[in-house]
Amino acid sequence: MSAGSPQALAAAPAARPGVPASAASRLVRRHPLAAASAAFLVLLALAAVLAPWVAPYDPLANDYAAMFAPPGSRHWLGTDSYGRDILSRLIFGARTALLVGFSASVVGATAGALVGVASAYFGGVVDLVVQRVADILVSFPLIVLAMAMVAVLGSGTANLVAAIALSFTPRAQLVVRSSALQVRHMVYVEAARALGAGHWRIILRHMLPNVLAPYLVMLTAFLGQAILLEASLSFLGLGVAEPTPAWGLMLSGAAVEFVQRAPWMAISPGLAITLTVLAFNVLGDALRDALDPKLRV
């Protein structure tokens, strides 16, 4: 990820001809789309972290004198039905999207990896039952699974993260398990057992580090999906609750109702979702090609 950072990009032109180009300039030349995505995501992450200083307005401040203000010099992207500045809400919404996206993907992929490796390690009936359950859960579309989890867990941001993470888990588990099965019969696992290592020590210290490649590929593939899921659930009123700024939430209700009067309310949040998910997907594809071209999530 550091390949797209400003320092790395600035260092690139210094490379003399004949000297191997730096990783960053190679990335820009060979995968221009991936480089652009990385740059976009770095900017987005910066905006999210620095939101209180970058955003021109308080994202929660109603301004009834400026309801439905079109984009202009005072409000660059216009205001919504409460007179709230859309640009500021977009910037703070990036926090929600990245926070939910990252935590759900990390939790989901990690939980899946643990279950997958453990299932491959123990084998037998445990493996069989765990696999069947995962097979069934995978037959549900992600959004259906996430919605069902929201229904069971209740609303709120933490539960939203849990719901998205839980719907990723069976997918992660199936992918990691197949890699773990190859690792299971490696000599070093046998050796660890011969030395008297416990089950969990073998799983955590010897097997888990060796399924890192599929884990990382999956994690990046999840990021885009998680952000899309968060947006969809918030749009449906099952995710992040008002008045927290969230992109999906900005598209629901008034944005659809007043689409003719204030189209800017609907256009920019959707664009933010699309660009962010696109950037994560492009980066994920690039990472997959770099780490293991055979893996498909």
């Binding site: 579309p141 992600l142 929201v150 885009g224 749009f235 099952l238 659809v256 699309t274 696109l278």
Partner: protein
Amino acid sequence: MLRYLATRLLLVVPTLWAVATLVFVLVRVIPGDIVELRLVSGGTYVTREVIEQERARLGLTKPLWEQYVDWVGGLARLDLGTSMWTGAPVVREIAIRLELSLQLAVMATVVAVSLAIPLGVWAAVRRGTWVDHAVQVFSVAGLATPSFWLGILLLLFLLWTFRWLPPMLFTPLWVDPVANLSQLVWPALAVGYRYSAVATRMTRSAMLEVLREDYIRTAWSKGLAERPVVVRHALRNALLPVVTVIGLEFAFLIGGLVVTEQVFNLNGVGKLFVDAISRRDYTLIQGLMLLVASVYVFVNVGLDVAYALLDPRIRYR
């Protein structure tokens, strides 16, 4: 073939039974009291007695195994129980909305196929050119675009260019085809574009693989024109993985419908699901989850049959 089909269909029963069990476990065993959540989420104050009465009414005071036997026993009689919210049978609630959703799913699949196959073939034939790159960007963007946002953009486009909005009320296809289609074409486009992305990629890579085969070189060298080589020799042989993807996507379509129906204010299965979740109507949620899983299972059986029809090398016993 018939014997194979019969065995496959028989195997559907234990699969669906396992799904039903899992759905049951998901709803009952995960912490959180259904009734309490449902009554308290309304924001009103309720006494313990009211909650207990409601629990008894819904049969939740029975031991878990008895509830399970009730649920699975009901399924065997195609009885999914009654909705906790409306009191109507779950089967009825679903049935009245299935027509709209099924039609939308079929239309969206038609949109996806008619985008994916020509684009995927075109990109493969013009590999490495700007056409290829443009098609790939188009399909990657499709995966990233939320279908509900695309729906809003479509509505906006209709408003700006034609000063017209699609009708709000659903009319069945056979009553008034024009009104029906002018309402459902737009959500079908929004969902179809998103679902074309994976199929486009699959068509492209399957075509690339087939185009390397010897018989394609033979076809070229005997002087065939591009069209018969690409369509008759290559595409027909590349179609199998594409059909798989399209079939599975059809099974997954309900996910796309969930959000898109909301934008276009369509009273379909997707909207029913959203309502069921926000009302915490657990029997309805169970029924809908089972519906989604059954569609997936039956589509898989259908795909296996389709393989045999499309590929003469595949024979089942």
